[in-house]
Amino acid sequence: MSETGAGQIVVRYEHVAKAFGPKVIYQDVSLEVRRGENMVIMGGSGTGKSVMLKCLIGLMQPTAGKIFYGDREVTAMDEAELIDVRRNIAYVFQQAALFDSMTVFENIAYPLRTHLKLSEEELAARVELNLDRVNLPGVGDLMPSQLSGGMRKRIGLARAIALEPEIILWDEPTTGLDPSNTKRISELILKMQSELKVTSLIVTHDMTSAMMVADRVALLHGKRIEKVLPKADIQKEPRGTLLRDFIEGNLDI
């Protein structure tokens, strides 16, 4: 975190509430994320972790409250203004969300074609660079259906980082993966932080991965952010506290 601006607040949730019809997902979520850190958001299934990420780039609208990216209020933006935010905040989807009808190459080229005017050679070079970054060189001609789950997630990451984002949102990055793929993805999250200096918000309930990548951990429970702690302090949490209970699987959710 030595670069300029490291440690300053880049994302801020202020008293955010979200409901789907009568079903209240959360009532009062407040959270600050600092530049360059890996913030892990933990919580049981259905607590609205992914919804938090989707609200940050305007894929969903909160029912109340404000969300800021830098000093700009995302929740007040229209679809056209959000495009700029989405160029800088990448979303890595839980099931990768690759476009089935396109090759791996076209999937990664998609955001580049959308936002930049590159020649075909430059495009090919950028795609290959990003395939290298996720350690999958030379798979550009494959279709998404030919990839394994772990590979799909890495291609999803390659597509997300193609525009060199400032922030990456990871939606359950290791769910459904075997231990070696889980480790590989966790290493990629750390690599993005160290090499590309990105800030990451990682939503997960995979404790192994969370402990490996987190700088700080936030616990979403009881319809709000219950606690935010640096990773080092988690083991110091006394037994019987919410966070400790969650980690040890003793929290009823």
Binding site: K54, I57, L59, R86, Y91, Q95, L98, F99, Y110, P111
Partner: protein, 262 residues
């Protein structure tokens, strides 16, 4: 009493649901029109969709109209014989096909086939978060998914209906020559003398409205799909039913409206 309350609640929910969907579809229609004329034009995607929606429907649409033309000629021959008007079979069949059956039946056939395909495709994209991914990557799903399908439909359906019109008339001609003893050349020249350009045009105008509605219903239902594969199935079924109802209802109002022009 409790039954009445439950019934009225159901009706209330149904009406609210319909209005909500109708409003959302109108918004989608507005966005589609707005994005249809803004750069970049995804011509490659439009051609791909024309191939997908239009070419794939040709055989079924033409077969439907050929058979319909034959049946109409036989039935009208029976009816018109009662008034000694067998010579008018060609004109009556021509009018029925150009003004009504060509456009409506092509739209029904294409509507059934294409709307379910669009709803299933976009529905699968929605449940696998691919539509969210389009937005997350800074693009617009309406521009990327709806607009090319709309252009493709606007080009393919009227063209298909035009071919279907011709094949329908040829069907009538074929059966008249084989069964009713009318000479094909006479049949054709009678048809050409009897029908007017306005008959053809009003028929084709309808297909633009039908096509617009079919794509809008299919895209709306597809993009709003949730609940995994089961949701995709439901969206597909709902779309086929809604498209067909739309075609038949819109046909009545359009026919009434277009009568102003003749």
């Amino acid at each position: 009493m409790r039954f009445l309350i439950r019934l009225s609640q159901r009706i209330g929910h149904g009406v609210a649901d319909f209005l909500e969907n109708f409003g959302a579809m109108m918004r989608l229609g507005g966005q589609t029109i707005a994005h249809s004329f803004s750069r970049p034009f995804e011509l490659h995607e439009v051609f791909k969709q024309i191939e997908h929606l239009g070419l794939g429907s040709i055989s079924i649409a033409l077969m439907t109209l050929f058979a319909t033309g034959m049946v109409m000629a036989l039935q009208f021959a029976v009816g018109l014989d009662r008034f000694g008007g067998r010579d008018y079979v060609s004109v009556v069949v021509g009018l029925a096909i150009l003004r009504e059956l060509g456009p409506v039946l092509s739209s029904v056939v294409v509507g059934g086939r294409v709307s379910s395909g669009i709803a299933a495709e976009l529905g699968s994209m929605a449940v696998t978060e691919q539509i969210d991914a389009i937005r997350a990557l800074g693009n617009n799903p309406v521009k990327k998914l709806v607009v090319p399908r709309m252009w493709a439909m606007m080009i393919a359906l009227p063209s298909l209906a035009l071919f279907a019109d011709i094949v329908g008339i040829l069907g009538g001609m074929a059966i008249s020559s084989l069964e009713l003893g009318l000479r094909p050349t006479t049949y054709l020249s009678d048809t050409i003398d009897g029908v007017q350009l306005i008959d053809l045009v009003t028929g084709l105008v309808k297909t633009y409205v039908f096509g617009f509605g079919i794509v809008l219903i299919a895209c709306h239902n597809g993009m709003r799909t949730y609940g995994g594969t089961e949701g995709v199935g439901q969206a597909t079924t709902k779309t086929v039913v809604a498209s067909l109802i739309f075609i038949f209802l819109a046909d009545f109002f359009l026919t009434r409206l277009l009568l102003v022009f003749g």
